[in-house]
């Protein structure tokens, strides 16, 4: 296993890949990870998990029959952020707060219309569910926002006392104009799926060869280490790309995620990411030689960083500096913005190419490490 390590013989490689594919085809867990997991993730991120601020259920209690009070209540009803249940008394919505069918209550008090006439509207009351602090503060802020818009439309100064803002902000979000989290979560889940296949699955299958003693038998045949590694990399590369394609098709056609770039760019980005993912998987399995340890290390070094430190869920810009520095060592950090660019913006090669370059660099590093470890393995 010395000088001939770099040699690649087509016949040996073909035989090894055929064996690998037969094993993949007979192993139900491979299919679970490659095809069932993407479906599950897309479903979760597409429907169940939403970081969006739309549609929180609240109740609006209108205790005043005046026109301004009804107009305010109508503003709440039309707000895209709330799903409103109208009520006449606080007592009648108490049950909704308890059972969670309402996350907040806006009370427009008696005499509200009178106050508006006198250009001094009494304060409205906003009751929130303190057991869910995030939602509570969200309800408070947005309820106030709706009231302010209403006040502006009524020609009232922003209550209670402040003067109108000198500059009116009218936010507009580019690339994801509706700020749908689904649009960036779904491409992000492609990163998760490719990490699972590239690193976790690869780590498991190579470690399995060690555990079952087949690695030893392989090493005693005339095959080179390069052939062995290639026979692991190529099938799982293809599997990961197939799974990526499945995710993309689902994202675009089932979830309506826009796809503004080209397929070429997507393939380039995904292939570049698979180099470090597969390289890390090989390195982990060759250094642990044990499926259990390999899976633990793969989860810790590949899955969790991809999940937490890649900008997939948590924005890197808002992380503390030391953690931000760590994110530079996470290959997925370069994949997520690239994927989001390809999906939501288009082929901006100026952004994609440096990311692709860095991912390939990580890939080279991991492959070099796995070669080193695999070669001296039986000692």
């Amino acid at each position: 296993m010395r000088l001939r390590d770099a040699a690649l013989d087509a016949r040996c490689l073909r035989a090894l890949i055929a064996k690998e594919l037969a094993q993949i085809a007979r192993d139900p867990s491979t299919f679970l990870i490659a095809f069932a997991l993407p479906l599950l993730l897309l479903f979760l991120f597409g429907y169940a998990v939403s970081l969006d601020t739309t549609r929180t259920r609240i109740a609006v209690v209108v205790q005043d029959d005046s026109a301004p009070a009804l107009r305010l209540a109508e503003s709440y009803r039309r707000s895209p952020y709330f799903e409103v249940t109208m009520a006449r008394s606080l007592a009648s919505v108490r049950g909704m707060m308890v059972d969670g069918s309402a996350r907040g209550v806006v009370v427009i008090p008696q005499g509200f219309g009178e106050g508006v006439k006198r250009r001094a509207p009494p304060p409205i009351q906003v009751i929130t569910d303190g057991s869910q602090p995030n939602t509570a503060s969200f309800v408070g802020t947005y309820a106030e926002g709706v009231r302010q818009s209403w006040a502006a439309a009524e020609g009232l100064g922003p209550a209670p006392a402040a003067t109108g803002p000198p500059i009116a902000l009218s936010p507009r979000f580019w690339f994801n104009p509706d700020l749908r989290s689904r649009y960036f979560l779904v491409p992000g889940s492609i990163a998760i799926v490719m990490t699972m296949i590239g690193t976790l699955l690869t780590a498991l299958v190579v470690a399995r060869e060690w555990e079952r003693g087949t690695m030893e038998a392989m090493m005693a045949t005339p095959i080179s280490m390069a052939e062995f590694i290639a026979s692991k990399v190529i099938p799982y590369f293809l599997l990961a790309m197939a799974s990526m394609a499945l995710c993309t098709l689902l994202a675009v056609f089932a979830f309506g995620v826009p796809f503004r770039g080209s397929i070429l760019a997507l393939l380039a980005v995904a292939s570049a990411f698979l180099m470090p993912a597969l390289g890390l998987g090989l390195f982990i399995s060759a250094s642990t030689k044990n499926q259990f340890v390999a899976s633990q290390i793969a989860l810790l070094t590949a899955f969790l960083p991809t999940f937490l430190l890649s900008g997939f869920i948590f924005e890197i810009g808002s992380m503390p500096l030391p953690i931000r520095i760590i994110t530079y060592a996470v290959p997925a950090r370069y994949l997520i913005p690239s994927l989001q660019t390809v999906f939501l913006a288009g082929d901006y090669w100026g952004l994609l190419l440096p990311n692709i370059g860095i991912m390939l660099g990580f890939g080279f590093l991991f492959f070099a490490l796995s070669f080193r470890v695999t070669r001296r393995s039986l000692d």
Partner: protein
């Protein structure tokens, strides 16, 4: 005869800091011969084979295979690792195809080679079966076939015979005999010393050092006329062995059925007890090994001396009444029946996967029987499994103590697990450290100890609470014969005190220590009796003269198969 196909000189190989795994070993493998690499576990056999296969580099010394470095001669080496190197999720044919491709067997020759190999291994009917679903013996044959696809000149077999049934093992020997006639140089490594006698030339390794090289007869020749068999005292043979081993003229002794077999010091003569019959016995490879190691331990067990005497009882101490275990439609053990009286050693004998462990686990209360009942020390397994467990000491196969706890911590743990009071525990642990000579290593991690100390510690932990019943799961397979003697000296001593012992083993030598054995084959008991009775039955059945336990087992299996139709193929 040509020069050797492989040669190694002055090989040193170290792992980490401790003693080297191989220390100045030299070996030469001649073409057309079976060279045995024999030694207990941990002797360095696998390391030497891996060096010859070019899977590792030696720290010192030279290795040549067909005049080349081993890494450059891979196309001429067939190698079967310990677990056969098969892909269990590929079929028999796919495994063969893979190895044929990797070894660059031309397509035109393939049909002929596969045909020959499948016929040779008798696997033709199972071409499309997944390798993982073959029996142990068939896996071993397929492993051999895969190592043979491109007719190697050097065949390296790493413990091919371990744990497979004796019939498969005998077939394997016959197959390797054919290869030898084709001029292949075969290296066969084994921990079974009886296999050494079948080799043309033997290298005996112990703790990384070469103890002997040459034809096996040269080793047994050293103890010719010094091995005697004494019989005619029936029930007192264990006490007699103890006394004999304490005499200076006896350097080794074992129980063999109803007789006692002794190895005498060079030039010594032995005064037999009155009424006993003394015969000269043919020496075995093991006798020579023990002689080189300087003889076995003396006969008195310090453990037994301090052990309580287990009260007499008329009832059987261990009872199995039709114990049956099924997993789905697979029957792991069927209708196991035996009774073991107080102070006896009973053996469950059979190859891996035959159902020994299942029966054992049911008697320990670790598996609930599908049908049948059993009792240990009067406690029914179904209604009082926990009470039954409290009555037994259990020593598991291999090393099942906590490797990263110290010797003393392991003892502490087991004292706690057996609910000894603080004072009893302290006394029991001090005694154990003294009896098993473990004081010196009391603070060391159990995992870092040499095999012999590990084994003493395992036994010490199992008997801390002085149980009336001992369960031993392959207690001495793979350990060197001196360690094995030491172990059985303790067990024999305990049995004299009234302890009842149940042993499982696939190791025929261990069966000889038993008062009674039952042969388990494919989930059923095919014969039960004293080792001598079973051998006598086999002698009549197969017309053998003085068969070994293994030969007896084979004869009884064949008889069983005859009585139950052809040998079922679907194991």
């Amino acid at each position: 005869m040509d020069g050797p196909v492989a040669r190694a000189d002055g090989i040193v190989k170290r792992f980490g800091t401790g003693a080297p795994a191989l220390d100045g070993v030299a070996i030469a493998i001649a073409p057309g011969r079976i060279t045995g690499l024999v030694g207990p576990d941990g002797a360095g056999k696998t390391t030497l084979i891996r060096l010859l296969a070019g899977l590792m580099a030696a720290d010192a010394g030279t290795i040549e295979v067909l005049g080349r470095a081993p890494g450059d001669a891979r196309d001429a080496i067939g190698y079967m690792p310990q677990r056969f190197g098969l892909y269990e999720d590929l079929t028999v044919q796919e495994n063969l195809d893979l190895y044929a491709e990797l070894r660059a067997l031309p397509r035109s020759e393939r049909a002929e080679v596969f045909g020959k190999l499948l016929e040779f291994t008798d696997l033709a009917r199972f071409r499309s079966r997944l390798a993982g679903r073959l029996s142990g013996g068939m896996k071993q044959k397929l492993g051999l076939a895969c190592a043979l696809v491109k007719a190697p000149r050097l065949l390296l077999l790493d413990e091919p015979g371990v744990g497979v049934d004796p019939i498969s093992r005998r077939e394997l020997w016959a197959m390797v005999g054919d290869l030898k006639r084709e001029g292949i140089g075969v290296l066969w490594s084994t921990a079974y010393l009886d296999e050494a006698e079948k080799c043309d030339c033997v290298y005996l390794l112990n703790a990384g050092k070469l103890l002997f090289e040459g034809p096996p007869a040269a080793l047994t020749g050293r103890v010719d006329d010094r091995v005697i068999r004494i019989s005619g005292f029936e029930e007192r043979r264990r006490r007699f062995l103890t006394e004999a081993l304490d005499r200076p003229e006896v350097i080794d002794g074992t129980i063999q059925g109803r007789s006692v077999r002794l190895l005498l010091r060079e030039g010594a003569s032995f005064q037999p007890p009155p009424h006993a019959t003394v015969d000269l016995a043919p020496p075995r490879f093991e006798d020579g090994f023990v002689e080189i190691l300087g003889g076995g331990p003396t006969g008195t067990s310090r453990l037994a001396e301090r052990y309580r005497t287990i009260p007499e009882t008329d009832r059987p101490v261990i009872e199995a009444k039709g114990l049956t275990k099924r997993f789905g439609d697979f029957t792991a053990a069927e209708d196991m029946r035996f009774e073991i009286p107080r102070g006896r050693i009973f053996g469950l004998l059979g190859p891996n996967g035959a159902g020994k462990s299942t029966t054992f686990k049911m008697l320990c209360g670790l598996l609930t029987p599908t049908a049948g009942t059993g009792a240990v020390a009067g406690f029914d397994l179904r209604s009082a499994a926990a009470d039954a467990r409290a009555q037994l000491g259990y020593m598991a196969q291999k090393f099942s103590l906590y490797g990263n706890l110290s010797v003393r911590q392991n003892l502490d743990f087991f004292a706690g697990a057996y609910e000894l009071s603080r004072a009893d525990a302290a006394r029991a642990i001090d005694e154990a450290l003294d009896v098993f000579e473990l004081e010196r290593v009391a603070g060391r991690d159990a995992g870092s100890l040499p095999l012999g100390f590990k084994q003493r510690l395992a036994l010490a932990c199992a008997v801390l609470h002085q149980p009336p019943v001992l369960f031993l799961d392959e207690p001495t397979s793979g350990v060197d014969p001196v360690m094995r003697r030491e172990f059985w000296t303790h067990i024999n001593g305990l049995v004299e005190k009234g302890v009842t012992v149940l042993v499982t083993t696939h190791f025929m030598d261990e069966a000889e220590y038993c008062d009674e054995v039952t042969l388990i084959y494919r989930a059923v008991q095919i014969a039960t009796g004293t080792p001598d009775d079973l051998k006598a039955d086999a002698a009549t059945l197969a017309g053998l003269d003085d068969p070994t336990m293994e030969e007896a087992f084979i004869a009884l299996i064949e008889e069983h198969d005859r009585a139950h139709g052809v040998r079922a193929e679907a194991a």
